[in-house]
Amino acid sequence: MCLLPKQVAIWRRKCKLHPIYSITLTRLKEFIRRPEAVFWVYFFPILMVLVLGIAFRNQTQEVFPVDVIEGPHAAQMKQHLVQSAQINATIIDRESSRKRLRTGKTTLAISARDPADQRSIDYLLDPQRPGALQVRNLVDDRLQTAFGRTDAFTATQTEFDEPGGTFVDFLVPGLLGIGLMGGGMWGVGFAIVDMRIRKLLKRYMATPMRRSDFLISMLISRLVFMVPQVLLLIAFSYFLFDYRVYGSLLAVTVLVFVGAMEFAAIGLVVGSRAQTLETASGLMNLVMLPMWTLCGAFFSYERFPEFFHPVIRLLPLTPIIDSLRGVMMEGESLLQQWPEMLVMVAWTVIPFTVAMVIFRWRD
């Protein structure tokens, strides 16, 4: 299990182990002996990449469903549309089409305002819906041409296929951030509450174990757990989705370290007083759930009103994701991430100080 078992055994016989070493080692052993924990920490993020990566892959040729409302010219309209490989036109009655629009089964319905005039075309769509305008333009183009519009020129198209712009590239830093947050909450906060409930913390307090040794060991074991977490996620995304890190790996390492410290400190606060698992999981959800949605892990927080952006940027999860994206996707340098790092350091120092003041060690 350990490095150089022979030397360790000799050393162990000669003198006792350092508490930091022994606490860290037992934390690691406890973790790897819990297969479900290993699954959630290491393989769940990979599954997320797999599922979301496939669901949101950049499709080479997408086919859009388009509804043609029943009427005298419907069949002809459909004829015009099916000439485009990207359009899948269906003739359907008005009521059914409205239902399909509402439920997202189609994004566009076309009809003639005047049954006598096949050129009185009306597009029915929800412009808020992703892709709706794109489909409208595609259909409009198709029909204008069919009804006689001539193009001013014919452009050629060259496909850009450098890796980097896919959803996976966006997702990996987000999942890393989520993983760091979960690790701090579960690996530090929940673990401490569990020890408190077991009276193990109290038992430790009856020994000469130094509190600082205990806390340092909790941090070290967090950092050790995290290394495979990061490497597995990046390696997996690389092999399956041709994922690339554009910035320096050193910068990524530093950011991950700072992020791990940040969430370890927040986990420490969460676990500092709770005496039941219910309180602990309540607090953890209070911390994690809003950040899952707000901080841009799965979709950019730019979608929220601009008014909220400064607040969102001050939440603990946003700066780690933003700075990782900056380095990993855009190839920025570590120095360019200083505002984010400042926020993360603040989220490390303040919670740690608060935790040390309010921590329940003995009961």
């Binding site: 162990r12 006792k16 182990l17 350092h18 508490p19 070493y21 022994s22 606490i23 037992t26 052993k29 406890e30 002996r33 819990r34 077991r198 009276k199 193990l200 109290k202 038992r203 430790y204 307090m205 009856a206 020994t207 000469p208 174990m209 130094r210 003995r362 009961d363």
Partner: protein, 326 residues
């Protein structure tokens, strides 16, 4: 004779291992809970001292104050000549603690847990030695969660003694254990005494205290109701035997008054059809008891005589049975 002087623990050591005076612990609340209401006692070095009493008597609160895990509301506590609050680590290095209920890490082995605790102490015995002394050597590689209740308790004791302490605190070490496991733990505690260690243990089993302790303090409602060597406390009752019997119908008060007049009977108490007599000499009381019951047409369904125990001391002092409150 110098030999007898040196074997006397007080003379040998000078200062007591534990000395507490006027300990009071009040938990805030509405109304405030007075868990400990003025406890004073001393434990000499090398002594095995038992704190006895029903649940809620303040035993755990007192022991945790002495272990440095609770702050007393008032009063003073001195452990190994030192006070909590100034240099706690130097006390902690010299004491071993087994809490009433600690669930150690489920997925660590017995050996790993003891090594972990060993790493906290500057000096101590090897983890292997701690396991040997608690008969856990064979379980070294077993996960904590696979252990039986008795093995878990012994492991708790192993973590207490791995730092080779001068003073060991055991809070209800045998509660919930089967008789076999209990006896195994008694042997371990007796071996501490043989090694000259001081032990403070709490229990609500009176026989355990009689077996193990040089002196006991009986706690009730946050106070010490009596203190001394178990044999002396029992002897102080005056009656060294107890007769307990049951009859086929409730015994009338007039009969009890009659029984009280039998020579060598000190006290008779009864509930419904169960009766209990504190007596001096069974050979005088028993024939007379049987004769009187037969005369009154009572059928005797149960009859037992035994030596008086600490349980009887508790009954005599409080009027309650200890067993009923556990």
């Amino acid at each position: 004779m110098p030999a007898t002087v040196s074997s006397d623990p007080i003379a040998r050591t000078g200062s007591p291992a534990i000395k507490c005076e006027g300990l009071i612990k009040t938990y805030p609340g509405k109304p405030p809970v007075e868990a400990v209401r003025g406890i004073s006692f001393e434990v000499q070095q090398g002594e095995c001292y038992g704190v006895l009493g029903p649940n809620g008597a303040g035993k755990t609160t007192t022991i945790e104050i002495l272990e440095g895990l609770l702050d007393a509301t008032s009063g003073s506590a001195e452990v190994l000549g030192m006070r909590w609050g100034s240099n706690d680590a130097s006390i902690q290095h010299r004491i071993g603690v087994s809490l009433q209920e600690t669930r150690l890490s489920d997925r660590l082995t017995v050996g790993e847990i003891v090594s972990l605790f060993r790493s906290f102490y500057a000096k101590g015995i090897t983890p292997e030695e701690a396991l040997r002394r608690t008969s856990l050597t064979e379980k070294k590689n077993a996960w904590f969660k696979t252990l039986s209740g008795g093995q878990k308790q012994r492991l708790a004791v192993a973590t207490a003694l791995v730092g080779d302490p001068d003073l060991i605190f055991l809070d209800e070490p045998t509660t919930g254990l089967d008789p076999g496991s209990r006896r195994e733990l008694w042997d371990i505690v007796k071996s501490f005494g043989a090694a000259g260690k001081t032990v403070l243990l709490t229990t609500h089993y009176m026989e355990e205290a009689e077996q193990l302790c040089d002196r006991v303090a009986i706690f009730d409602a946050g106070k010490i109701i009596c203190e001394g060597p178990p044999r002396e406390l029992i002897r102080a009752l005056g009656s060294e035997h107890v007769v307990e019997f049951s009859t086929d119908r409730p015994i009338e008060q007039s009969v009890i008054d009659q029984l009280n007049k039998i020579p060598s009977v000190d006290q008779v108490s009864s509930t419904q059809a169960d009766c209990r007599m504190s007596i001096g000499q069974p050979h005088i009381v028993l024939p007379e008891l049987i004769r009187q019951l037969t005369d009154q047409n009572y059928g005797l369904t149960e009859l037992a005589t035994r030596s008086a125990s600490l349980e009887d001391v508790f009954v005599a002092k409080t009027g309650r049975h200890l067993a009923e409150e556990v």
